[in-house]
């Protein structure tokens, strides 16, 4: 580590890109993969945001591209910002089925972007998503200002969402992250974010950086930042609308990627969470936005039907994953009337923990394990909708907070069985 620049070995093509690029105070990272239809608008937001909020700071735009075939990087050139273009490894399987975050090889892309940012001496890096069409110039300010002026090290966005958006996030990821890392993050896989130089250095120096091709990097970053007492913040942004032809929207795949990513982090980096007790809210930039309560076309009957099909088809598999008592309780859930379907928080926590343990001990082929989790997730989601759809937004927040509290309360169940 040096005084502001990181002595990192970079691929020759990246080194060539950096030739003649002046050091900067702010780096803006955009990870891309076939985002020609949206990336120009993102570039425009970047330019406007920088001009309006950080006019005096020197800036470089870093584009890590996963091998776009639609000229995406060229469109960023046309944006007229100082630009460093890098290309990273993209696992073939991820290009065939692009992950939910839209970028094959996101871990490698992040590492390369971080390294370039530090080579250029950036004090802070803000990361934006190339297919998000609702970005506004103040997003840069809300994400970056805490890093540049308030000693934040990691700023995770919170998007204004509908109360039933992000059910994997709200019912699995957020409560699990809260219990594991002790930080109450609303949207741990938000995609965008801001990073301090201090944190980038810490991450780049870590020999345990998740291997390329996994979906673990964002969660590992949050876990590492939390465990090492970096200042983790949240920034409330506006609504997030993505327009992508490549992201997967296949529910089982999304569940497998997101939940599997977190389970993977739990296994590989258990030093980050085993000793953590309790949780705390994180500092906030911007004004918290109430989730929208507009009517949504949710099919609770179908979700409960999916859960029922799980009971019917997957009980034999679940016997290998769930503790007998947990399985017994799941089998006892009353599915007769979807409109009254319930799934207690404590049972849900045990289910998720049993799956994490099953993943850790590899009790069945992991892809089967993760996909067999989907009906349970559908059941818990249905119960969430049933419990809250006739209630106000405050009740939704309370419900989700109770889920997180249950995960926290029963963490001992997980820890006892982990060792």
């Amino acid at each position: 580590m040096t005084d502001g620049t990181q002595d990192l070995a970079l691929p020759p093509d990246v080194e060539r890109e950096l030739d003649g690029v002046a050091p900067c105070e702010i780096a803006v990272g955009v990870l891309t993969y076939n985002n020609a239809t949206t990336v120009s608008a993102v570039a425009a937001v970047v330019r406007a945001g920088l001009e309006r909020h950080f006019a005096s700071a020197s800036t470089v735009l870093i584009n890590a591209d996963a091998g776009s075939g639609d000229g995406t990087p060229d469109l960023l050139v046309a944006a007229g910002l100082p630009l460093v273009r890098v290309r990273h490894a993209t696992p073939f399987a991820q290009r065939l089925a692009v992950p939910f975050h839209g970028v094959p090889g996101r871990g490698a892309a992040l590492r390369l972007t971080f390294a370039v940012a530090r080579r250029l001496g950036a004090r802070g890096l803000v990361l934006l998503e190339a297919d998000v069409t609702s970005a506004a110039d103040e997003w840069l300010e809300r994400l970056l200002r805490p890093v540049l002026e308030q000693k934040a090290d990691l700023v995770v966005p919170v998007y204004a969402r509908h109360r039933y958006d992000g059910t994997i996030t709200n019912l699995v990821l957020a409560p699990l992250v809260r219990a594991l890392f002790g930080r109450r993050l609303h949207q741990p896989l938000a995609g965008a974010g801001a990073f301090s130089a201090r944190l980038l250095d810490r991450l780049l120096a870590d020999p345990g950086w998740p291997a390329s091709g996994h979906h673990q990097t964002d969660l590992w970053i949050e876990g590492t930042a939390s465990a090492d007492a970096f200042a983790v913040w949240e920034a409330w942004l506006g609504p997030r609308r993505a327009e992508s032809r490549t992201r997967t929207s296949d529910l089982p795949t999304m569940v497998a990627q997101a939940v599997g990513g977190l389970f993977g982090v739990m296994s590989r980096y258990d030093d980050l969470w085993l000793e953590v007790r309790g949780s705390e809210p994180v500092p906030v930039a911007g004004v918290p936005v109430t989730p929208s309560g507009e009517p949504a076309a949710l099919d609770v009957d179908r979700m409960v039907g999916g859960f029922r099909r799980g009971l019917r088809d997957l009980s034999a598999l679940w016997e290998h994953i769930l503790a007998p008592e947990t399985l017994g309780d799941v089998l006892s859930l009353d599915t007769a009337s979807p409109a009254r379907f319930g799934f207690p928080d404590e049972l849900w926590a045990r289910v998720v923990y049993d799956f994490a343990l099953g993943h850790h001990y590899n009790v069945v082929y992991r892809d089967h394990l993760l996909r067999s989790f989907v009906p349970l997730y559908l059941g818990r989601t249905a119960a969430f909708v049933v419990a809250t759809r006739d209630r106000d937004v405050g009740a939704v927040e309370s419900h989700l907070d109770a889920v997180g509290a249950a995960f926290e309360l029963h963490k001992g169940y997980l820890v006892e069985r982990w060792r």
């Binding site: 992000g166 996030t169 529910l251 099919d299 179908r302 009353d334 409109a339 559908l378």
Partner: protein
């Protein structure tokens, strides 16, 4: 009171369980079942898997017609407990997500009711017109006598009033006069009293007979329907729309149909004619009686539901069969004259079927899968027997058989204090047939009932699906589809006591691999050619027919799940 919110049409998915308070569990050791005892046994009912309890009349009554002769609508019969006991029971049931409906006799009262006492003795009393009085017993001559074994006329002379009073049932049950608006207001107040306590609805007794008109049968009159619609509207308006009304109208389906109105009268009504035809089809070993009665069953409004039953607290009524069919049923199921009562057979399910477990299971299979909400009569889930020598319908109202302990575990009272003796014969006696024993046997009727009820829960199609009968060449095979939304369930039943083959025309499902619901076995795929299955004696299959693309339908959360 404690009530849980839920779907307004919860009754469409529910399995009902009919209970005699006096017969279920004695909590205070006086020999008569009570609400304290019933409350103790709620967990058994939860384990059985039922959703709603139907409590037979529990009101203050001289019990000359087993409580259907109500003397005080606002009080619990002292033998069954107190109003506080009832409330504790209701709250405990709701805490277990069990709903509760009670019988309510709207057509008549006991002659011991204060209304009638005032009416019979004082023509100037406010209750003088609460009943139907006449100077002659020749009015309404076209109305039939229902209890032909006990009553010769629908009119009885009352010396105190020097007039005849009208009664469609026993003479100690005078009919209320709904031409007097004060009576309907009084009945609504009765309903409010119980609904205010959290009750989930009423099974309304003898509803076709509420209003009388000269020159008619005095059954199913338009004035009666208008009155019932008024009751429904008030209850919907005042109680949020999830309280349920179930009609007892022992009529042909086309005559029962008006009791659903346009979805604005009763939520449910019993399908009386189906029940004897189930037995008939089983005895004839052919599906025709069942398919025929559904051919003559009209569609009902979407929010309405049929109530299905195999047996209940009354005799197996044969009013809704032809004379030939009745003769056949007596021959097949009631060879001992003691078994006959009125126009029916006073026997429980298991004895009717000679205690043949396979036939009992088959009829329960049909009960749980034909269109409607099934109603299980207490004790039939363990195959309890009856005692036709106890008189009237008492033979099917004996104490629940919980265990092989004294008094079948029903009561700690001296044996002689029991309201009726427990069944003790060698086949159906409590030492052979009881809950405790069957709970330990995986192949017992009780265990099978739990499995069937649980399997019924796996698809809303059973409660809500349309029915379509298949027509396999083998008449001994009853096969039908239940379709609801994207779900289709196929039921195939062998009505014969011998193994049978069946070829089913399932071409529209070609490519689908049927999944047998009870065992989870995946069967060979359906082809365009007839699908062949073979069934053991009285065997049955419940298949789920799931199209490969079904799972691809959206849940509404995919695009934003992360």
């Amino acid at each position: 009171m404690s009530r849980k919110p839920g779907a307004r049409d919860w009754y469409k998915d529910a399995v009902f369980y009919e209970i005699h308070i006096k017969a279920f569990m004695d909590g205070n050791g006086d020999g008569v079942g009570d609400f304290v005892g019933l409350t103790e046994r709620l967990d058994y009912l939860v384990e059985l898997g039922v959703d709603c309890l139907w409590i037979l009349p529990m009101y203050a009554s001289p019990l000359r017609d087993d409580g259907y002769d109500i003397a005080d609508f606002y009080a619990v019969h002292p033998a069954y407990g107190t109003l506080a006991d009832f409330q504790k029971f209701l709250d405990a049931a709701h805490a277990r997500d069990l709903r509760v409906i009670t019988d309510l006799v709207v057509n008549h009262t006991s002659d011991a009711h204060p209304w009638f006492q005032a009416s019979r003795s004082d023509p100037a009393s406010p209750y003088a017109d609460y009943y139907v009085w006449s100077a002659t017993d020749r009015r309404y001559a076209d109305a039939r006598v229902i209890f032909v074994d006990a009553e010769k006329s629908n009119w009885t002379w009352e010396p105190g009033r020097r007039a005849y009073y009208w009664h469609r049932f026993f003479s100690h049950q005078p009919d209320l006069n709904y031409d007097n608006p004060a009576v309907s207001r009084a009945m609504l107040d009765v309903m409010r009293f119980w609904l205010d306590r959290g009750l989930d609805g009423f099974r309304c007794d003898a509803v076709p007979y509420l209003v009388e008109r000269e020159g008619t049968s005095c059954e199913n009159l338009p004035e009666t329907h208008a009155l019932l619609k008024e009751f429904r509207a008030v209850i919907d308006r005042e109680y949020g729309g999830d309280r349920m009304l179930l009609a007892e109208a022992n009529q042909w389906p086309e005559d029962v149909r008006p009791y659903f109105g346009d979805g604005d009268e009763f939520h449910m009504a019993f399908h009386f004619p189906l029940m004897p035809r189930l037995y008939m089809a089983l005895r004839l070993e052919e599906r025709r009686p069942i398919v025929d009665i559904y051919t003559h069953t009209p569609p009902i409004p979407p929010a309405c539901q049929w109530g299905l039953f195999l047996r209940n607290h009354d005799e197996l009524t044969l009013e809704m069969v032809t004379n030939e069919e009745r003769a056949f049923m007596y021959y097949a199921y009631a060879q001992d004259p003691e078994m006959k009562l009125n126009l029916g057979i006073r026997r429980r399910l298991a004895p009717l079927l000679d205690n043949d477990l396979r036939r009992i299971e088959l009829l329960n299979c049909l009960l749980l899968t034909l269109p409607g909400s099934p109603i299980i009569y207490y004790g039939d889930e363990i195959g309890m027997g009856d005692n036709v020598y106890l008189g009237d319908r008492n033979g099917v109202r004996t104490p629940m058989q919980w265990s092989s302990d004294r008094n079948a575990g029903f009561s700690t009272a001296e044996e002689g204090k029991l309201y009726l003796p427990v069944i003790t014969d060698p086949v159906y006696g409590y030492q052979a047939v009881n809950v405790a024993a069957q709970a330990r046997q995986p192949a017992s009727l009780l265990a099978t009932m739990k499995r069937l009820i649980a399997a019924r829960r796996t698809s809303p199609g059973f409660g809500r699906g349309a029915v379509a009968f298949l027509r396999p060449r083998n008449q001994k095979i009853l096969a039908y589809l239940r379709r609801y939304g994207r779900e289709t369930v196929l039921i195939v039943a062998n009505l014969s006591s011998a193994p049978q083959p069946a070829e089913l025309d399932l071409a529209e499902f070609a490519g689908i691999r049927p999944v047998e619901i009870l065992g989870g076995t995946v069967f060979p795929p359906i082809q365009a050619a007839p699908y062949f299955v073979s069934l053991g004696p009285h065997g049955f299959y419940w298949f789920r027919l799931e199209r490969p693309g079904d799972a691809d339908e959206p849940y509404g959360i995919e695009s934003t799940a992360i």
